[in-house]
């Protein structure tokens, strides 16, 4: 990676007896869309607030473009925030809300109206310039909040669950707008959310935060296909967790086994439901594939696909995602390629 825009180095934070952030290290590249994903209480908002300058880290450093950032007060950082509640100034018009940062920096009047006009056009809010925030819908307030930050040409834009206040359909729409805006402006986004689907849809990379530590930092694809821990595997998407005994390069769970390249011991494996194939018993097994027989106990229809719960011989229950109405009888045969068995690190 070229030298990063932002480097978070060993940042820790504690509120009373609670360790909120524990030695967090994180590099963010120029023009990247990075998501900090975590459940509530994982420390994701605190990390964002430390980068913004609203909280002080207890130890660790933050650097931006080779300069120390965490020693600057929040009003001296070229880092801007889109707040969860938008935090628009209720007594100012949309125009004045957006112009606020420029006025604080004593930008000339002519340039202010020019830049505010341009950014309002970018978020399609030109017609609302004279309205008060209370006269706008949630989606419109969201756009004003974005415009208010973007007009300052930030090096880094922080977004604190900006879509969580919107209803589902609007949220998906705003995701699209947000993504397009980031590509258009090339500004680095750090996006905080607890919604893994949102994170997958938007991000270049996702940092999964848990209990104040980064559990895994990878692209959405890698995170999904090669989860490193049990937490990541089950937090992102649906998965089957299989406990297996590994001995001499062979893993065994229940009464089936497959070859692995990891040291001996008890290991947890993740197997995505869509990586299990439904085959007819008459078909000849593929080379090296695991073949299982089982009984469908339950099926959940969800439109494009169906999720089956199959009880295999030996008592293991697997979730299997199949195309709709692929099954004709409850007795089924399953086939699994061993490369889809992803070994996980359990909580150390």
């Amino acid at each position: 990676m070229p030298s990063p825009l932002l480097a978070v180095k060993r940042v820790s934070k504690r509120f009373g007896a609670t360790q909120v952030l524990d030695n967090v290290t994180l590099d963010i590249a120029e023009s990247e869309f990075l998501t900090i994903l975590g459940e509530s209480g994982s420390g994701k908002t605190t990390l964002l607030r430390i980068i913004a300058g609203f909280e002080q880290a207890m130890s660790g450093e933050i650097w931006m473009r080779g300069q120390r950032l965490d020693t600057l007060p929040s009003n001296k950082r070229n880092v801007y925030t889109v707040f969860q509640s938008y935090a628009l100034f209720p007594h100012l018009s949309v125009f004045e809300n957006v112009a606020y940062g420029l006025r604080a920096k004593k930008v000339r009047g002519g340039e202010i109206s020019e830049r505010v006009g341009a950014v309002l056009a970018q978020v399609r809010m030109t017609d609302y310039a004279q309205r008060r925030p209370a006269q706008l819908s949630g989606g419109q307030q969201q756009r004003v909040a974005l415009a208010r930050a973007l007009v300052n040409r930030p090096d880094l834009l922080l977004l604190d669950e900006p879509l969580s206040a919107l209803d589902a359909s609007l949220r998906v729409h705003m995701q699209g707008e947000l993504h397009a805006l980031q590509r258009e402006t090339g500004i680095t986004f750090v996006f905080v959310t607890h919604d893994q689907e949102e994170a997958m849809a938007l991000s270049d990379r996702i940092a999964v935060l848990r209990g104040g530590r980064i559990e895994q930092l990878d692209t959405p694809r890698t995170l999904y296909n090669q989860p490193r821990s049990c937490y990541v595997a089950s937090f992102i998407g649906k998965t089957n967790l299989l406990r297996a005994q590994v001995r001499n390069g062979i893993a065994r769970a229940g009464n089936f086994c497959w070859p692995v390249a990891i040291p001996d011991g008890e290991v947890l494996f993740s197997l995505r439901p869509e990586n299990i194939k439904l085959v007819s018993a008459a078909e000849i097994p593929r080379e090296g594939a695991i073949r299982l027989k089982g009984t469908v106990r339950r099926s959940v229809f969800s439109g494009a696909s169906e999720m089956l719960e199959v009880e295999c011989d030996g008592g293991i229950v697997l979730k299997v995602r199949v195309a709709t109405s692929a099954i004709t009888s409850p007795e089924v045969s399953l086939e699994i390629s061993p490369e889809y068995m992803i070994p996980l690190v359990e909580k150390e």
Binding site: G53, S74, K76, F89, H91, A104, N152
Partner: protein, 282 residues
């Protein structure tokens, strides 16, 4: 929810109270202001002479003007003390916030008279302040202007009414979401800019309410001027008191009271409308 009979039943006591102790006295006041006193007896004959006297005799208007000046000074000083205090307590203080808040409230528990007398002991010729100033050699002899002057009245009333400004201002500042202040900082605003562009405008309804309290309460005050005002510190209510007392001219006193009442009602409706407009804009 509740039956109509029940609603009427519970509304009755307060209604009776208001009628008996507010509306009836006001009606008396209204009638009295159109009557007259002749050779020590109230004549129940309708006349506008009392109101004519108020217009004709410049004394009343002068005293009213002085009262308004004193009340305005008190309001200004109470704002200068109360608003920064509220700002400091609401945004800067992290620890012991409650304790400091209580410290501002505690003077309200002490009797008004005690506080007025306290200033008498502080400001008097042999009072704490003069003794100290003379002892330190700043003054050669005790300063006489400290006590029995409009200055003393303003000082005392400011002391008494500052909490009345502080409370509503503090309440409105506490209602400002923390994220707005953070957003202002985030956008590059200094503390001073944040105060004037965000906090003060949003706390303005509280400021107006506090200023109204301070002005109206000071305007009608008569104990502070009585105790420490001296001849130059006489306020309009002192005149009303003496008219109802030693001077025995209830009708004229009633006329002044009624004028004051109208003035205050006018002021309160005006500021209330202003407050509502400000809040409606939010």
């Amino acid at each position: 929810m509740y039956s109509r009979a029940y609603q009427r039943f519970v509304a009755l006591p307060p209604l009776a109270w208001v009628t008996l102790f507010l509306l009836v006295p006001y009606a008396f006041l209204f009638c009295y202001s159109f009557w007259q006193v002749r050779s020590g007896a109230v004549i129940h004959a309708w006349t506008l002479r009392n109101y004519g006297e108020l217009v004709r005799n410049p004394l009343y208007f002068d005293v009213l003007l002085r009262s308004a000046r004193i009340a305005a000074s008190v309001t200004l000083l109470a704002l200068l003390l109360g608003v920064p205090l509220a700002y400091f307590l609401s945004t800067r203080v992290q620890q012991h916030k409650n304790l400091l808040y209580q410290l501002v409230i505690i003077p309200l528990w002490v009797s008004y008279l005690v506080r007025a007398y306290a200033w008498k002991t502080i400001l008097g010729g042999t009072g704490v302040l003069n003794t100290l100033l003379v002892y330190c050699g700043i003054l050669h002899e005790p300063a006489g202007f400290l006590l029995y002057s409009p200055f003393a009245v303003i000082l005392t009333l400011t002391h008494i009414y500052t909490p009345f400004v502080f409370l509503p201002v503090y309440a409105s500042m506490e209602h400002i979401p923390r994220s707005l202040v953070e957003a202002a900082h985030d956008l590059g605003a200094s503390n001073v800019r944040t105060f004037w562009s965000i906090i003060f405008p949003l706390a303005l309804p509280g400021v107006i309410a506090g200023a109204t309290f301070a002005f109206v309460l000071s305007l009608g005050d008569f104990i502070a001027p009585l105790l420490i005002g001296g001849p130059n510190g006489v306020m309009i209510s002192n005149i009303v008191v003496s008219l109802f007392g030693a001077a025995y001219d209830w009708p004229l006193g009633a006329a002044i009271s009624l004028c004051m009442l109208l003035l205050v009602v006018f002021l309160i409706t005006g500021t209330e409308r202003l407050e509502r407009r400000l809040q409606g804009g939010l």
